[in-house]
C-alpha cells in the first residue's frame, strides 16, 4: 500500500493549507452579493477540509510507529533550509478538531450570523487556513506567519456583527495579541541567534551543541517564546483578555475560538517535548515547573471563574480557560500516560466548549422570548428522527391539549443538549470528559513521581476532582435559572440548522466515549512519539527533495 499510495499522500499534506486559501480567494472574488453560493462554497470547502484532516489522521495512524510522519517540502529545498510541513498524530488530531469545530460553527452561522457583516466567509476560511498551517508547519518563523494569519482573521471575526461591546473587546484583544506577537518574534530571533536555524527539528538537534555561555540566552529565548504561546493558551495571569473577548464575539465565532486557545497549547506541547525532553542534558525539562504550576493555577482560576459566573457565556469562557489549564498541567508532568489522558480530554473539551458557546445563544434567545417573541422565524424545530430526544411522542405540540402541558421540542432539545454539554465540561459519566479525566487520574495514580511531579502530581489529582465539582455546581445553577425557574414561557424558535451542529458535536463526544479505547490508544501513541523526539527529527531529516528527473 505504501509504495503506490505514499507519493500522493505526501502531496496531501499541504492540501489543508491550500484549500481554505483558494476558497477564501474565490469567495472574495464572488463579492458580498451572492450569499447563497458563498455559503455553499464555504460549507463545501470546510467539509472537504474535515475529510482531508480525517484522511491524514487515518494515514499517519495506519503507518507503523517509526514512520508515522508525513513530511512535505513546499519549496523543494533540502531539509534544514526550506520550510517543512510535517503531519504526525498530534497535528492530525488537532486538524480534525479544528475542522470539526469549524464545520459546526459554520453550519450554525448559516442560520443568520453570516449575514451580520461583510466578508464572514473569507475571514472564516482564512482562520481555518491559519489553524491548519500552524498545526502542520515545522518551521519556527513559518509558525509565526501562520499565527499571524489566524490572528488577523480572528480580529476580523471577533468584530463581525459590530457594536460597542465587540469593538471594545476587539481593541483589547488586538492589543494583547500584538504584544504577544512581538514577544514571539523576540523569542524566535533569540533562538535563531543561538542555534542559527529556524527548522524545529534542526533546533532540537543543535540544542545539545549549544555552548554553556549561550545556554542562558537560549533559555531566555525559549521562555519569551513560551510567554507568547501561553498568552494565547490563556494561562493565568495572561488570560484576563479571554472572557470579555469570547463573550463579546458572536456565537459561531466564539465557538470557533474554542480551538484558538488550543493552538497555544499545541505549540507548547510540540516545541517543549521536541526541544527540552528529559534527555536534553543541561536543558532537560526546562520550564516544566512553570507549565505545571501555571496550568494548575489556570485550572483553579477557571474553575473558580465558572463558579462565580452569573451568565452562561462567561461560564463557557471560563470553561475554556479551565480546559487549557488542565491540559498544560498534565503536559508539564512529562508522563506519557498522563499526557495521553490530557489529549483525550483536550479533544472532548474542545468539542464541548464549541457546543456550549453555540448553546449560549439559543438559551439566551429562549430567555428573551418571554419579553419579545422573534417575529419572522416561524419554522419550528421539527421532531428529531435521528438525534437525541428519544421520547418525541409526547413532545408534539398538537397533543398538548390531550395530555396536559407538553414540553416543546425546542426546549427539550435545549435542555438535553445543555445537560450533555454540562456532563462533558464537568467530566461526569457517561460522557467523554469523564473518560479523559479518568485516564489522567488513573495515570497519575500509577505514575512514578518524577522531580516535577512530587508535589504537583497530587495537586493535579485533587484539582481535577475539585474543578469538576465546581464546574458541575456552576453549570447546575445556570441550568436551573434557564430551564426550571421561568414559569409559563413560550417555547423559543430554533432552526434545524442551529440545532444540527450542537447535536453533531455532542454525537462526536458520544463517539469519543463509544470508541474510547481506540481514541485513548491513539492518544497514547501520540504522546509516546512526542516523548521520543528523535523520531521526529529523523523523519524531518529523512525527507529528500524531489529531483526533477523523476516525474511523479
Amino acid at each position: 500500500m505504501t509504495g503506490l499510495l505514499s507519493f500522493p499522500m505526501q502531496q496531501l499534506v499541504i492540501a489543508p493549507v491550500l484549500l481554505p486559501l483558494g476558497t477564501a480567494a474565490l469567495l472574495l472574488l464572488l463579492g458580498g452579493q451572492r450569499r447563497m453560493s458563498a455559503a455553499a462554497i464555504s460549507l463545501a470547502s470546510t467539509l472537504a477540509g474535515l475529510v482531508l484532516a480525517v484522511t491524514l489522521l487515518l494515514w499517519v495512524d495506519h503507518q507503523g510507529a517509526p514512520s508515522a510522519f508525513g513530511v512535505y517540502l513546499p519549496g523543494n529545498w533540502p531539509v534544514p533550509f526550506g520550510i517543512v510541513l510535517v503531519v504526525d498524530r498530534l497535528s492530525a488530531l488537532m486538524m480534525v478538531l479544528a475542522a470539526s469545530t469549524g464545520l459546526a460553527a459554520l453550519l450554525f452561522s448559516l442560520a443568520r450570523w453570516h449575514r451580520a457583516g461583510v466578508h464572514f466567509h473569507p475571514l472564516f476560511q482564512m482562520q481555518l487556513m491559519g489553524l491548519y498551517g500552524a498545526f502542520l508547519t515545522a518551521d519556527l518563523f513559518n509558525l509565526f506567519v501562520f499565527f499571524e494569519v489566524l490572528l488577523a482573521a480572528s480580529y476580523g471575526l471577533l468584530l463581525h456583527g459590530g457594536g460597542g461591546a465587540r469593538v471594545r473587546a476587539g481593541l483589547h484583544y488586538i492589543a494583547i495579541n500584538l504584544v504577544a506577537s512581538l514577544l514571539f518574534l523576540i523569542g524566535v530571533s533569540l533562538i535563531y541567534g543561538v542555534t542559527g536555524t529556524l527548522n524545529m527539528a534542526d533546533v532540537a538537534q543543535k540544542l545539545s551543541q549549544v555552548p554553556d555561555s549561550d545556554r542562558g540566552l537560549l533559555h531566555a529565548g525559549a521562555a519569551i517564546l513560551a510567554m507568547a504561546f501561553l498568552a494565547k493558551a490563556a494561562v493565568w495571569p495572561l488570560n484576563f483578555w479571554l472572557p470579555p473577548a469570547y463573550v463579546a464575539a458572536g456565537a459561531p465565532v466564539a465557538a470557533l475560538f474554542a480551538i484558538l486557545t488550543k493552538v497555544g497549547v499545541y505549540a507548547v506541547l510540540r516545541l517543549w517535548t521536541l526541544c527540552f525532553p528529559a534527555s536534553a542534558g543541561a536543558s532537560a525539562l526546562f520550564g516544566g515547573e512553570v507549565l505545571v504550576w501555571g496550568g494548575l493555577t489556570t485550572l483553579a482560576f477557571g474553575a473558580l471563574g465558572m463558579m462565580a459566573s452569573q451568565r452562561l457565556d462567561r461560564l463557557a469562557a471560563f470553561s475554556v480557560i479551565a480546559s487549557s489549564g488542565t491540559v498544560l498541567a498534565a503536559i508539564g508532568l512529562d508522563e506519557p500516560a498522563v499526557s495521553a489522558g490530557a489529549l483525550f480530554y483536550l479533544a472532548s473539551s474542545t468539542l464541548a466548549g464549541c457546543a456550549l458557546f453555540l448553546l449560549v445563544e439559543l438559551m439566551e434567545r429562549a430567555r428573551q422570548v418571554e419579553l419579545a417573541p422573534l417575529a419572522d422565524d416561524d419554522d419550528h424545530l421539527p421532531d428529531f428522527l435521528d438525534a437525541e430526544p428519544p421520547r418525541d411522542t409526547n413532545l408534539d405540540d398538537d397533543e398538548g391539549a390531550l395530555i396536559g402541558r407538553a414540553i416543546p421540542a425546542a426546549l427539550a432539545f435545549l435542555g438535553l443538549a445543555f445537560i450533555l454539554c454540562a456532563l462533558v465540561v464537568a467530566g461526569l459519566p457517561p460522557m467523554s470528559g469523564f473518560v479523559g479525566k479518568l485516564a489522567m487520574l488513573s495515570a497519575l495514580l500509577e505514575a512514578p513521581w518524577g522531580t516535577i511531579g512530587a508535589l504537583a502530581g497530587p495537586a493535579l489529582f485533587v484539582l481535577l476532582i475539585v474543578s469538576g465539582l465546581l464546574a458541575a455546581t456552576g453549570l447546575l445553577r445556570v441550568g436551573i435559572r434557564h430551564f426550571w425557574s421561568p414559569q409559563n414561557r413560550p417555547s423559543p424558535r430554533l432552526r434545524v440548522i442551529e440545532c444540527m451542529p450542537i447535536a453533531l458535536l455532542l454525537c462526536a463526544c458520544l463517539l469519543l466515549v463509544v470508541r474510547g479505547e481506540a481514541v485513548l490508544a491513539y492518544a497514547r501513541a501520540t504522546t509516546d512519539a512526542l516523548h521520543q523526539p528523535q523520531q521526529y527529527i529523523d523523519a524531518v531529516f529523512g525527507a529528500r527533495p524531489v529531483s526533477r528527473g523523476v516525474a511523479p
Binding site: 481593541l171 535563531y192 541567534g193
Partner: protein, 114 residues
C-alpha cells in the same frame, strides 16, 4: 556600533512599553509601533552586526559568513514589518471605530471614575 544599536533598541522598547500602558488608544498605537521597531532592530542584531557586508552572493568571494552578512534576519525583518504594518493599520481602524462608538479615546471606551 553594538552600543548604538542596543541603546536604540532599549530606548524604543522602554518608550513603547510605557506608551502601551497608557490609557489613550492613540498612545497605545504609538507604543505598539515603537515596540515593533525595537523588535525589528533586535532581529537584525541577532544576525551578527557587520559593516560593509552584503547579503547577496558574488562570484568573486567565498560564500560564507566571513564575507557576507546573514541574509535570513533581513528576510525575517521584512516579513515582520509587513505583518506589523497590516496589524497596526487594523488596530487603527478599530481605534477609530471605538472613538466613533464611545465618543472618547479611552481604551476601555469610557473614562475612569476618579
Amino acid at each position: 556600533m553594538e552600543i548604538v544599536i542596543s541603546v536604540a533598541i532599549g530606548v524604543l522598547a522602554s518608550a513603547g512599553v510605557w506608551l502601551v500602558l497608557r490609557p489613550r488608544t492613540f498612545q497605545v498605537l504609538t507604543g505598539l509601533s515603537l515596540l515593533s521597531y525595537a523588535v525589528n532592530l533586535f532581529i537584525f542584531s541577532v544576525g551578527s552586526l557587520s559593516i560593509d557586508k552584503e547579503p547577496i552572493v558574488q562570484a568573486a568571494r567565498v560564500p560564507d559568513l566571513l564575507n557576507y552578512t546573514d541574509p535570513l534576519p533581513q528576510s525575517l525583518v521584512l516579513t515582520a514589518i509587513v505583518i506589523g504594518f497590516a496589524t497596526t493599520a487594523l488596530f487603527l481602524v478599530v481605534l477609530l471605530a471605538l472613538r466613533g462608538l464611545s465618543g472618547g479615546d479611552h481604551v476601555d471606551g469610557e473614562e475612569e471614575r476618579s
